[in-house]
């Protein structure tokens, strides 16, 4: 286990390092002068020079990177060009909303995907299987924002069952929070669901062909036990890996859902920042997203290795 963890962790460090260099250079290769962006066109040369010094722009590029990344590691991403607030504060304010959305979306996707996958596998070739497959296919062909808008028009606008936008924290008012979550998290969940559903179905069916299922059958184990411990359990590891790989999709989907449902999260922060040239904020959000993706991937892989003793042997 130790060697495996070390190798995976080294991979993570490399990816994060390269990604951080890319994120850092995004702003360095920008045309124009950050000092001008901050102070506006009317600033005097002395004022500009002062800002440049405070930003470290007169240092060599490697020093600048080192300064930026070592500050970033302590949570200091500088000040937002647009608002003047520390970037970390802006982010901290937005994290809870995005977490609500992403966690609820993932939860819904898992419940829907796994249960529909099991149902499809147990009814292979029958109508239920085909209907589930068709629904999954349809979902994949539909852009998430337009799906979100259709749901919004139906359940928010016409039926008036659910609020059309806005975020309420679970800690403040759980019921209200959930009614606000249903549409955006539901759309996000539906977006992630098809792959899970297929993977569970195919995993269970592939295991059905395995010798160990025949052994279990020959030992007269009840069908429910075989489904649980030979089929589902063995289909679970790839699902876990997929969930890890889904993180990126979930975050990207969150950006869009936040825009559709006016959700005050990190995605809408990033979007607003990039459209208003607020580079420190963009850098911070992008880096945060990348780190989240690779860390979650590593964690799911480690969990996978723990659940499936073959992973490390074969690798």
């Amino acid at each position: 286990m130790g060697a495996y963890v070390r190798r995976r962790f080294a991979g993570l460090v490399i990816v994060v390092f390269v990604a951080s260099v890319i994120v850092f250079s995004l702003v360095r290769v920008l045309p124009g002068d950050p000092a001008v962006t901050i102070l506006g066109q009317d600033a005097t040369e002395e004022q500009l020079e002062a800002v440049r010094t405070s930003l470290g722009l007169d240092e060599p590029i490697t020093t600048q990177y080192w300064l930026w990344i070592s500050r970033a590691a302590t949570g200091d991403f500088g000040y937002s060009y647009a608002t003047g607030y520390p970037v970390v504060e802006l982010i901290a304010n937005r994290v809870p909303a995005t977490l609500h959305l992403v966690v609820a979306g993932l939860l819904l996707a898992t419940v829907l995907g796994v249960s529909s996958g099991i149902i499809a596998a147990l009814n292979r070739g029958k109508l239920v299987d085909k209907v589930i497959n068709a629904m999954n296919m349809a979902t994949l062909g539909v852009p998430s924002f337009s799906l979100g808008l259709v749901l919004l028009m139906v359940f928010g606008l016409s039926l008036n069952w659910l609020p059309m936008s806005g975020y309420v924290s679970l800690w403040d008012d759980p019921v209200d929070a959930i009614t606000h979550l249903i549409l955006p998290a539901g759309t996000l969940g539906i977006l992630i669901m098809p792959q899970l559903s297929w993977l569970v179905r195919d995993g269970m069916l592939a295991n059905l062909e395995q010798d160990h299922v025949r052994t279990a059958t020959s030992m007269g184990l009840p069908r429910s036990v075989i489904v649980r411990s030979n089929l589902l359990r063995n289909a679970f590891s790839p699902v876990l890996t997929l969930l890890g790989l889904t993180t990126g999709k979930l975050l990207a989907g969150a950006v869009i859902m936040e825009s559709v449902f006016s959700w005050p999260g990190l995605g809408s922060l990033a979007l607003r920042s990039v459209l208003s040239d607020d580079y420190p904020t963009v850098q911070a959000v992008v880096l945060l997203a990348v780190v989240t993706v690779v860390v979650v991937n590593l964690l799911t892989d480690l969990l996978h290795a723990k659940l499936d003793p073959r992973v490390m042997k074969g690798d």
Binding site: D211, R214, T215, T217, G220, L221, N234
Partner: protein, 341 residues
């Protein structure tokens, strides 16, 4: 275990298995096999790959799904036709009264479940033991099949065990609920030679201690000689010869059996011409009609275009061949038995 001897533990009557291929196709893997296994007996079923011996063993436990094959004839376990049972009745026999050891121990166990837990699941399904008793029984079983360090091995995942150890664990699983009948399908083929001998010794010991009946599927005549009292030789879905192991191995009457014995490498004999002929002719395959062996048979004549029936001799040795050697070793004359050759 009844010592009556009359009620066969396992009895196959004219078993036919046709695998369904594609939309309408069928491949007849077993073409009418009858076989009997008395209590406490070890019977071997011998044949090359593709002879249908695995299909026989799987259908004896009704392990071939209905969607995969059409199965005719009957399979009786202690007089009960397994193909007339409902799923629950069948489940109560499988594992509890008859069980199976498969060829490849690497894939026979669920890689994600600890070895001990897999045995415990069988005990839970068939016995009313409580948790502590189950745990004790698992350790006892692992000890029985010659695994050291049982507590640790029970907690291990299959991948942590060597091939031989895994096959021992599979045997422990198969024997967990004290079955009367064990079907072992090439239990040693996937293992190293030294391990093979250990596993065979283990099966022999267990058979003695637990008065098991064993149906042993193998392609290896050495294994047959060591383990079995009686043997059935299969070729292309039919039994071509059967009888006591002593009789069949010392005085084989069917040319196929003779060929099989001739190709067993022996220290006391140089590589014979027989062997070369047999090996060369093995390439020419299975005849589509009549006696399936005739394309490879040195004795084949026009008579062989009809399928020979299995005929018993006075000693109970049975052979299906128009030109079968007489029990004393001489060849029955091809002319005279048949008209106009």
């Amino acid at each position: 275990m009844s010592a009556g001897g009359e009620a066969a533990v396992l009895e196959l009557n004219d078993l036919r298995v046709s695998y369904l291929t594609g939309a309408t196709g069928e491949v007849e893997a077993v073409k009418g096999v009858s076989l009997r296994l008395a209590p406490g007996e070890t019977v071997a079923l011998v044949g090359e790959s593709g002879s249908g011996k695995t299909a026989v063993s799987l259908s004896a436990l009704r392990l071939i799904p209905d969607s995969r094959a059409r199965i005719e004839g009957d399979v009786r376990f202690r007089g009960t036709d397994l193909y007339e049972l409902d799923p629950n009745e069948l489940r109560r026999i499988r594992g509890a009264r008859m069980s199976m050891v498969f060829q490849d121990p690497m894939t026979a166990l669920n890689p994600l479940v600890r070895v001990g837990d897999q045995i415990a699941a069988a005990l839970r399904a068939h016995t009313s033991l409580d948790r502590t008793q189950i745990r004790a029984r698992v350790l006892e079983l692992l000890d029985l099949v010659g695994i050291n360090d049982v507590a640790q091995r029970a907690r291990a995942y299959p991948d942590a065990l060597s091939g031989g150890m895994r096959q021992r664990a599979v045997i422990a699983l198969a024997l967990s609920c004290q079955p009367e009948l064990l079907i072992a399908d090439e239990p040693t083929t996937a293992l190293d030679v030294t391990i093979q001998a250990q596993i065979l010794d283990l099966l022999k010991r267990l058979q003695r201690e637990l008065s098991l009946s064993i149906l042993l599927i193998t392609h290896d005549l050495g294994v047959v000689a060591e383990m079995a009292q009686r043997v059935y030789v299969m070729f292309a879905g039919r039994v071509v010869e059967s009888g006591s192991v002593d009789a069949v191995l010392t005085a084989p009457r069917h040319p196929y059996t003779q060929g099989l014995i001739a190709v067993v490498p022996r220290m006391d004999r140089p590589k014979g011409a027989n062997e070369a002929t047999f090996a060369r002719s093995a390439l020419s395959g299975v005849a589509p009609s009549g006696c399936e062996f005739r394309l490879r048979c040195p004795l084949a004549t026009a008579a062989c275009e009809d399928v020979p029936r299995l005929e018993p001799d006075a000693q109970g040795q049975q052979v299906a061949c128009w030109h079968a050697a007489t029990p004393t070793g001489r060849t029955r004359s091809p002319i005279g038995d048949e008209d106009g050759v």
